[in-house]
């Protein structure tokens, strides 16, 4: 019964005021970066199609005319690279900032699924308090993800190039997704350890997390799979609903923007709920 309880407590905790504040911070950060990206891309596109009917074609989505011109006109390479560079830079900013914010996020979740102690410190202060150990936990996580994910992806690429078949294609992707999710979930438990115990050692946190994952392997893996499915379903719903919205008019674009952002919020919520359920499992498991 520990697994259903962990899921229920995780979902309950994810919609509590404290974690919602964390969600707000995470979304606000991403939205701000996305806004900067949007403005940059808009100005780039608008300047390219100013006073041209090709601009109207874009109401229906990317048009072949626009795409060919964009890719082949003199200077196209530098424009494309500038967009790519901005996207990568903003994604890196988000990655680093989200690590910095993770202490605040986890402390609010632990507060909900743990002792019920009220967190009186401001969110930012909580983030600052745990920034060091969270960074160290994240570095270890990136190492695990990079090495394991890299190896699995190489196997996948070799298999796909070798026409290993549809069964391999799906099995390999499933394995990659579950393994990487399990690593991320273990890292979550390590973060919970840091906040719940006050132990600032990343090594100790990872040791505890791995020990928990091994001791509670069936429940832990099932929870990883459950959370992965939830995340995929939320993402699929978000993309599907957004794709049904006609964005050929100004109001359609605004509606698409709003619905798209609701989908993004949903994805962040699914991630926080997953963290909360893993935290709950760790705490109820002792």
């Amino acid at each position: 019964m520990k697994l259903p309880i962990a899921i229920a407590r995780g979902i309950s905790a994810s919609v509590a005021p404290g974690p919602l504040v964390a969600l707000g911070w995470m979304y606000g950060l991403l939205a701000a970066l996305a806004l900067a990206f949007t403005v940059f891309v808009y100005l780039l596109i608008a300047s390219g199609v100013a006073n041209s009917a090709v601009g109207s074609q874009l109401r229906k989505g990317i048009s072949a005319d626009w795409l060919v011109d964009t890719l082949t006109q003199p200077g196209a390479g530098s424009k494309f690279m500038s967009v790519l560079f901005l996207a990568v830079a903003l994604a890196l900013v988000y990655a680093v900032a989200s690590v910095a914010l993770s202490g605040g996020v986890v402390s609010r979740i632990v507060d909900r699924v743990g002792s019920g102690r009220a967190v009186n410190d401001p969110f930012v202060a909580e983030c600052g308090r745990y920034a060091g150990p969270m960074l160290r936990v994240a570095i270890v996580e990136f190492l695990f993800l990079g090495l394991t994910g890299g190896a699995l992806v190489i196997v996948w690429i070799v298999g796909m190039i070798g026409n290993a078949g549809n069964a391999f294609a799906w099995t390999s992707v499933t394995v990659i997704a579950v393994v990487l999710s399990a690593i991320a979930a273990t890292a979550d438990v390590a973060r919970v350890h840091v906040v719940a115990t006050g132990d600032r050692s990343a090594i100790a946190a990872w040791r505890d997390a791995i020990s928990h994952a091994v001791r509670r392997a069936p429940s832990f893996v099932l929870l990883v799979v459950f959370n992965l499915v939830v995340a995929l379903v939320v993402a699929w719903i978000a993309v599907t609903i957004h794709s049904t919205i006609s964005r050929e008019t100004g109001s359609g674009v605004i509606l698409g923007l709003v619905v798209g952002q609701i989908g993004i919020i949903g994805r962040i919520w699914a991630r926080i709920a997953a963290l909360a359920s893993q935290a709950s499992l760790r705490i109820v498991s002792g």
Binding site: Y27, G28, L35, A46, S52, L58, A169, L257, G263, L275
Partner: protein, 694 residues
């Protein structure tokens, strides 16, 4: 926190709301373009043009009204037996081939294609050019194939086998054995016929390119010794008579004489067979198999397929003005759900070509669906038999109803019955003439027949996962890329199939660029005239071997104007075509507006731009297109709302579309949509890559 994120959303809305209000402007109607006589091309650019063969001597135009459709220079009577056993996979055969000297002078040697030797080892010209990889398939290590001529003698018994020698007319690659010559002790006099008896064993390659086997699926093409084409002086503009017999190349394999094929094929019990021509009958063979007898006249090749996994569909198509045609589909059992779709696509293609190009004169057309592992045999054309391929079109999954790829492939390959099959241009020397003209008619036919099938899917692991927000690239929405500097500046469109520079140059210059040039020709002379050109070209050159210049001549004749200036630029040069509206500015004090048109490329094209004003009135601006810029001073009022360089149809040869129009008000909703979609994609990807908390 919720308050803060809402503020960000509102801020985004505030940025975009004011810019999302301009309505899209309607385009003018699609009136036919006026026929405009163009300028001599050397007035603007004196650079030399790519050399091409001159027009064919009129006496080599196919004769009409005779007893046969073609000149029937050759005939093949063949018997072949398939051994599908593991480790064997070969065809053992004999043929009696006859050849009539069509020229005015004696011929003292014969030249043969032995194209299966392209798969003999890594040293063949084909393997060197392709690098062992073609159309996403790799040559398997254990998949080599070859053809061995085991006997060759004249009908009166002279053994020619010792005299057979391999030659390499294209590249001098001594390791290439795809062409052979045999000297004759007695020359063949003009009009005289020689008969040879040949025995051969063809070990089939494992399919990665066009021909061979995959499991028990066999697509047996280029499998027998086939004569090259002896071209008399004047044929295809040839200065001196001689054999035209090219090696097997990565991008070309077809050029042969018309004739009669009478073939008996023996296969084991349980195999379904499809082949060029009409099935005359079948009988048990002495070795316990089945022998099928096929015959087809007025074709220049013979191909066949066998598989123990086919399901078969047939229907008879009756169209006034041509014989009934039996449409046959041979589809893999696991793709049986697409059997009717194969038949429908083939029948619709047949009807379209009959209505728009000319009658289909044969009694059969067979569409073959190769086995999944034999995708390299898909998308191929042979006389009266074509291959499609679910595997080559939808990554292993059955195609969605709105996915056009199956229909595109079938329509395209059926089109080759006309452009390659009947109009038998030389694929080696002028590849645009079959693939390019075929791509042009494909674009017309697909728009006519399946306008709603436009989807492009991202497939993974045999499942269509995601429909792209774009028209399927196979339909040619991106074909204009072949008109941009990245393709055009690399050289002229016309060239040998193996002579293009760069990886995709052949594809661009054989398919998309000529399609663009022919569509542009339609803009220049009008669509009705263009349709007449296509019909007239087919009518004149079916069962013949035309050159590029022969096509150009037909176009000039039908249009009633000398279009050489256009063909010289579009087909024989690296000149870029691009015109645009540079700006529209007003001179308040003079109450005039200046519309400035510019030529940003170095190709010349007559322009008839259209000015549309706020009150709906229009004004045409004519320009010969010679200068780099042309300023038109017109009345300022009523306000100019729009200027179109190409008001009726945009020529696909025009490199850049963005400058083809000028609007008084920019449409900002389009860019806003793309920007917000891109940002949403960025957010999803960032969440995926960076995680949320970690």
């Amino acid at each position: 926190m919720t308050t803060r994120t809402s503020l960000i959303a509102l801020l985004a809305a505030a940025v975009f709301l004011p810019v999302l209000t301009t309505a899209a402007q309607p385009r003018p109607g699609d009136a036919p373009a006026p026929a405009v006589q163009g300028p001599p091309v050397d007035r603007i650019d004196p650079r030399p043009l790519a050399p091409i063969a001159p027009s064919s001597d009129p006496k080599f135009r196919p004769k009409r009204g005779g007893e046969t459709l073609s000149d029937r220079v050759v005939s093949y009577t063949m018997k072949a037996t398939l051994d599908p056993a593991k480790g064997v996979k070969s065809v053992t055969g004999t043929e009696r081939v006859t050849w009539r000297n069509p020229g005015d002078s004696p011929v003292s040697e014969l030249q043969f294609h032995l194209y299966l030797n392209a798969f003999r080892d890594k040293n063949s010209t084909f393997m060197k050019e392709s690098g062992g990889r073609l159309r996403r398939d790799d040559m398997p290590e254990d998949g080599w194939g070859q053809i061995d001529v085991t006997a060759m003698a004249t009908a009166d018994g002279e053994d020619l086998l010792p005299k057979l020698e391999y030659i390499q007319p294209d590249d001098g690659n001594a390791e290439d054995r795809t062409v052979a010559r045999v000297p004759l002790s007695k020359p063949v006099m003009p009009g005289e016929t020689i008969a040879l008896d040949i025995a051969f064993v063809s070990k089939l390659p494992r399919i990665f390119a066009r021909t061979g086997f995959a499991g028990n699926f066999f697509l047996v093409g280029q499998w027998y010794p086939k004569l090259g084409v002896y071209e008399p002086k004047g044929m295809r503009g040839r200065a001196e008579a001689g054999w035209n017999c090219h090696q097997f190349h990565a991008n070309s394999e077809f050029y042969a004489d018309f004739g009669v094929f009478d073939v008996e094929l023996t296969v084991p019990q349980g195999f379904t067979v499809g082949a060029t021509g009409a099935l005359l009958g079948g009988r048990p063979s002495e070795d316990g198999g089945v022998t099928y007898h096929y015959r087809q006249a007025d074709v220049h090749d013979f191909v066949w397929t066998a598989d123990d996994n086919f399901v078969t569909g047939e229907r008879t198509v009756s169209i006034e003005g041509m014989p009934d045609v039996k449409v046959i589909a041979l589809v893999q059992a696991e793709h049986a759900a697409t059997l009717e779709r194969h038949l429908d696509a083939t029948e619709n293609s047949l009807r379209w070509f009959h209505a728009n190009v000319g009658p289909y004169p044969y009694e059969t057309i067979t569409t073959v669906d190769p086995q999944d592992d034999g995708g390299g045999a898909g998308g191929m054309e042979y006389p009266t038999l074509i291959t499609a391929g679910i595997n080559t079109t939808s990554a292993g999954t059955l195609p969605a109803d709105d996915d056009p790829l199956l229909e595109v492939v079938i329509f395209h390959e059926f089109g080759h019955q006309y452009w390659y099959g009947m109009v038998a241009s030389n694929e080696f020397e002028e590849p645009w003439m079959d693939e390019g003209i075929n791509s042009y008619t494909e674009s017309l036919g697909m728009a006519d027949l399946w306008p709603a099938k436009r989807a492009a899917w991202i497939a993974y692991g045999g499942v269509n996962l995601f429909r792209l927000p774009l028209d399927n690239p196979t339909l040619g929405p991106f074909s204009r890329f072949a008109s941009t500097q990245f393709v055009v500046r690399r050289g002229p469109m016309i060239g040998t199939s193996w002579g293009y520079k760069g990886g995709q140059s052949y594809s661009f210059n054989a398919y998309q660029r000529p399609e663009n040039a022919l569509q542009t020709l339609g803009v220049l002379i009008g669509e009705e005239k263009m349709a007449e050109v296509v019909r007239a070209y087919f009518a004149r050159w079916k069962f013949g071997h035309p050159t590029s210049q022969d096509f150009f001549d037909v176009a000039s004749e039908v249009s009633g104007q000398n279009l050489q200036w256009y063909f010289d630029q579009a087909f024989r040069s690296d000149r870029l075509l691009d015109y645009g509206v540079q700006s529209v500015r007003t001179r308040e004090e003079e109450e005039i507006a200046e519309v400035i048109l510019e030529r940003t490329g170095d190709a010349v094209f007559p322009i008839q731009a259209l000015v549309t004003r706020d009150d709906g009135s229009t004004e045409s601006l004519e320009w010969d297109g010679l200068s780099s810029q042309q300023i038109f001073r017109i009345a300022q009022l009523p306000e100019i709302r729009r200027v179109d360089v190409y008001p009726n149809r945009t020529p696909k040869l025009d490199a850049y579309a963005t400058n083809n129009t000028w609007l008084s008000h920019s449409d900002r909703a389009g860019p806003a949509r793309i920007a917000t979609d891109a940002a949403l994609f960025f957010e999803h990807l960032t969440l995926l890559l960076a995680g949320v908390v970690s």
